[in-house]
């Protein structure tokens, strides 16, 4: 039965009490979730969920406003200082994620989906421009099978274009048929990255191709989550986002593990290469809060159908009561 969401949803600036309690340390932010702080009577219990505007620019402005409001509490309050600092760190993480991805709601809104489509088009163009190096990167996976990059690329582009069309037309039945090819593309990209991650030198020498492929992985994961959501499979949509978060964490962990053990390679890496590598790893790290947030939002939508539509139209941060 559809739920009337109105009584549950309020614009954050309209409820100063919530901000005051975050400042005083009674509440604490965990990702996009407001909880009672540990040590309080209801420690850990959820007060509500934050929903950010669909537009990345507005999200950035609202995050900065929220940070500015909360930071007034820093230095003037002794109690709850550590809680407030942690909440500020959460906002900082979300802000970085928003900047890195150009949006916190890429998987869960139609506007975000369009951005993801454009990013994938851009990545495809770059992959084609670097086709020679990419072919070499793919060939590590299989020396026997000569991969036809152009045919592969054409198939991939056709898939994204078709998905975009079916999403806009609300053609649920045809969208469901695209889920398998999406999984295949995602898994293939992930396997290539997994093959390279344990090779320390590869992470340095092939960084530009690996960066492109990982960008593709991220945007594919977000696109797949959106397609699943449009097809009505919210549970699987959420799983796509959670899987992407887990895959990025695993890939980065593996890369760091092999790099910190290889003394010979370390002695050959120059400062520019190290900066490139750490920027890439940091980028992967900064994406994670956005993925956690989106998984939470999809969870909210499962429990309160229609919420997302409202959030995407709002210009303010919304608080959805638990």
């Amino acid at each position: 039965m559809p739920v009337n969401t109105d009584p549950l949803v309020r614009s954050l600036p309209d409820i100063p009490d919530v901000l005051a309690k975050i400042q005083s340390g009674v509440y604490r932010l965990w990702g996009g979730v407001v909880r009672y702080a540990s040590g309080t009577d209801k420690g850990g219990q959820i007060v509500g969920h934050l929903l950010f505007p669909g537009d990345s620019q507005q999200t950035q402005e609202r995050l900065q406003q929220l940070q500015a409001t909360l930071s007034k509490g820093l230095g003037s309050l002794q109690n709850g200082m550590s809680h407030l600092q942690q909440s500020m760190n959460v906002l900082q993480g979300l802000q970085s994620a928003n900047l890195v991805l150009s949006g916190l709601n890429l998987a869960v809104t139609t506007a975000g989906f369009v951005i993801v489509c454009k990013k994938l088009d851009g990545i495809s163009a770059q992959i084609q421009a670097q086709s020679h190096d990419i072919v070499q990167t793919f060939q590590l996976v299989s020396d026997i099978q000569e991969r036809n990059l152009l045919a592969d690329e054409a198939q991939f582009r056709a898939l994204t274009l078709t998905a975009r069309q079916f999403c806009e037309q609300g053609d649920v039945e045809h969208l469901k048929g695209l889920i398998t090819p999406f999984h295949k593309e995602y898994q293939f990209t992930k396997l290539v990255l997994e093959k390279h991650a344990p090779i320390a030198a590869s992470n340095v020498e092939r960084l530009s191709e690996i960066r492109l492929l990982q960008d593709r992985l991220v945007n594919l994961g977000l696109m797949m989550a959106h397609v699943q959501m449009k097809a009505g499979a919210l549970k699987y949509s959420r799983e796509c986002v959670v899987q992407l978060e887990s895959d990025l964490t695993a890939l980065n962990t593996r890369r760091v593990e092999v790099l910190i053990c290889d003394r010979e390679l370390a002695s050959k890496i120059n400062h520019r290469q190290l900066t490139g590598m750490t920027n890439f790893l940091q980028h992967g790290k900064h994406v994670l809060p956005a993925l956690t947030y989106q998984a939470d939002v999809i969870d909210l939508e499962i429990r309160n159908p229609g919420l997302l539509e409202r959030a995407s139209e709002s210009k303010e941060i919304l608080l959805v009561a638990a």
Binding site: N252, T253, V256, L259, I260, R263, A266, S267, K268, I269, N270, H271, R272, Q273, L274, M277, T278, L281, Q282, G284, K285
Partner: protein, 231 residues
């Protein structure tokens, strides 16, 4: 572009960032514990002594480097070289002296590893070491032993006819004149290790190898920390 964890820092750069304790060992070796050596310019000796006292030997790393390289020009094989040798040549000579097998493909880090391995085996009977800290600790012990031996022979060699011989031949070939008395006093093994200029260059290269190992490990630890912070 410079590497993040360099294996082949120029000697001047390496010494300019070394600890005072480590540089004091080199200073004592060069100046024979401030007693002076025949071929050591008295002004240089005073400069080293003053900086040692102030704990600022890092600021005269160029002086230390020049003196160490100059000792490298004293062995027989170096007779036909110009006034001083590169540190790489010097370290290679030391590796060969210790029965190591350095090749042209080895960089200075690899050659110093050969020197450390051979020296530990020869003078401490150590064939393997558990980790870098153990290696550095054992190298320090061997350096201490060799510095002590170098001082004993050097004192004798720097007197009487030896000085006259040095004057006649030129350069620092005087150290060849270590008398049989010194051999008897220190034992054949140590004498072989420290004969001619090698009694200076063997402990010097070992000490520099130790400094480079420590610097490498410190740089590597910083590199690891940078990467870990990305998780």
């Amino acid at each position: 572009m410079a590497t993040v964890v360099p294996r082949d820092l120029p000697l001047i750069d390496l010494l300019s960032k070394a600890s005072s304790d480590d540089l004091n060992v080199l200073a004592d070796l060069i100046t024979d514990n401030e007693k002076g050596r025949v071929a050591l310019d008295s002004k240089v000796k005073i400069t080293i002594r003053n900086h040692r006292a102030k704990g600022s030997l890092q600021s005269i790393s160029d002086v230390l480097e020049a003196e160490i390289r100059a000792f490298g020009s004293n062995s027989i094989v170096n007779m036909f070289r110009s006034s001083s040798v590169s540190y790489l040549e010097l370290a290679t000579d030391v590796a060969k002296k210790l029965d190591g097998k350095p090749t042209a493909s080895h960089d200075v880090f690899a050659i110093e590893e050969i020197v450390m391995r051979q020296a530990l085996s020869k003078y401490a009977g150590v064939k393997s070491y558990s980790d870098y800290a153990a290696l550095v600790g054992q190298v320090a012990q061997v350096v201490k032993l060799l510095v002590s031996a170098a001082s004993g022979i050097g004192g004798i060699a720097a007197t009487g006819g030896a000085a006259a011989l040095a004057s006649a031949i030129g350069g620092r070939l005087v150290t060849l004149a270590a008398p049989p008395l010194a051999v008897a006093a220190t034992g054949v093994t140590i004498f072989q290790a420290v004969s001619p200029a090698f009694r200076i260059t063997v402990p010097a290269v070992l000490q520099i190898a130790k400094i480079r190992q420590m610097r490498f490990e410190a740089d590597f630890a910083t590199y690891q920390e940078k990467l870990r912070s990305c998780l």
